[in-house]
Amino acid sequence: MQLIRSGGRGALKLAVVATGLATAGVATAHHSFAMFDNEHQIRITGTVSKLEWGNPHIYILLNGGESGKDARDWTIEGASPGILNRIGWKFSDIRQGDKVTMVVAPIRSGESAALLKEVRLADGRVLNNGGFAGPALIKID
């Protein structure tokens, strides 16, 4: 696997790409994030219905949506607990019933699922989803 970097509108985009040539290489990652549309990030606000804290990824189930649109049940993918722990998260930072705002990259299939970029927690702190998920390209508020 190799880390491939490409610029776009001045933003750093990171993708972990499995390659036949370098599978014995430096990276050991779980899967590509290319199924999410990084170029069309959205901001959603809602109430956490469940946090699934586990490997290889955490998931946040959220009832809510974009401003002015109907609320839906969203499935939001996060990084792994190890990565999140190292960049300052704690498993108890998000709890059922919390009101949160997120910047996410929606899944290309059109389902209500997305990759997390940034989250504003109930206590006001803003956490990102690590280097592999890439940065938020829109402001969280």
Binding site: T28, A29, N55, E77, G131
Partner: protein, 254 residues
């Protein structure tokens, strides 16, 4: 034999037994641990998980392409081309990682996640946080014959210290683990402890059947003081390969 003589003999026998068992139970001193101290938690000098400001250059520890012989080189390039095209279409091709299969050797020496080194008498153990991969390097042992090497994800590793360098040889990597290879592939490593808080793994892979020349690269590690390796049990993941289309999907909802 009189009753008293028999009693004395039994008593003497019991005393001898007690002495023997006491000797057997005597604690041994801890055997010496060889080499410089490089136990602890290690990570990439520029951990890739850290989100850096846009446009800031980020050094990436990269691995050169394997110098494969034909036709494997062309096959590998074609797979790489297809994988890149699939990524560009937003339809990444599912890989072993998606099925939670660990990378094995040598990819477990990579630094997407931290790793831990444990030194004990006669053994160095390396634990990769990603997928909780473990390899054991047995010190001062003779490597087994290729024919005796059970195919494994982490292979059979033996090592010896040469000053500040742990010289390691690994054979017996299972087919399908890492790049295409033969049962005679060898991974030679020189783990150079460069300071109290850094070391480098100089990796050289040789394979008379699949490689045109030795495949060499170096991975650098910095100490992450006080870091406790996270557990990594790959649970039910929501991302999966759709059995009908072969495409990567995400299971939504409860």
């Amino acid at each position: 034999m009189s009753h008293s003589v028999r009693l004395r003999l039994v008593a003497a026998g019991l005393a001898a037994l007690v002495t023997l068992s006491a000797q057997a139970a005597a604690p041994r001193p801890v055997p010496k641990i060889e080499g410089p101290d490089f136990s602890g938690s290690w990570e990439d000098p520029y951990p890739p998980e850290v989100l850096r400001p846009a446009d800031s250059p980020r050094p990436v520890q990269s691995v050169p392409p394997a110098p494969l012989k034909e036709p494997w080189l062309s096959q590998a390039r074609e797979r790489q081309r297809k994988a890149a095209a699939a990524i560009a279409r937003g339809e990444p091709i599912p890989n072993n990682g998606l099925r939670c299969i660990p990378g094995g050797m040598p990819s477990m020496m990579g630094t997407v996640f931290p790793l831990e080194v444990l030194q004990s008498p006669g053994q160095v153990t390396i634990i990769q946080e990603a997928f909780a991969q473990v390899r054991r390097i047995y010190l001062n042992e003779k490597q087994i014959a290729f024919e005796e090497a059970e195919p494994l994800f982490f292979g059979h590793s033996v090592g010896r210290w040469e000053g500040n360098t742990l010289v390691v040889n690994t054979i017996g990597i299972k087919e399908g683990v890492g790049t295409v290879h033969s049962p005679r592939m060898q991974i030679d490593e020189r783990m150079v402890v460069t300071s109290a808080d850094s070391w480098e793994d100089h990796i050289t892979i040789t394979d008379p059947e699949y490689l045109t020349q030795p495949w060499s690269y170096t991975i650098k590690y910095n100490r992450r003081k006080g870091y406790k390796i996270n557990e990594f049990v790959c649970e039910d993941d929501r991302v999966y390969a759709d059995p009908q289309t072969g495409k990567q999907r995400l299971r939504t909802g409860e």
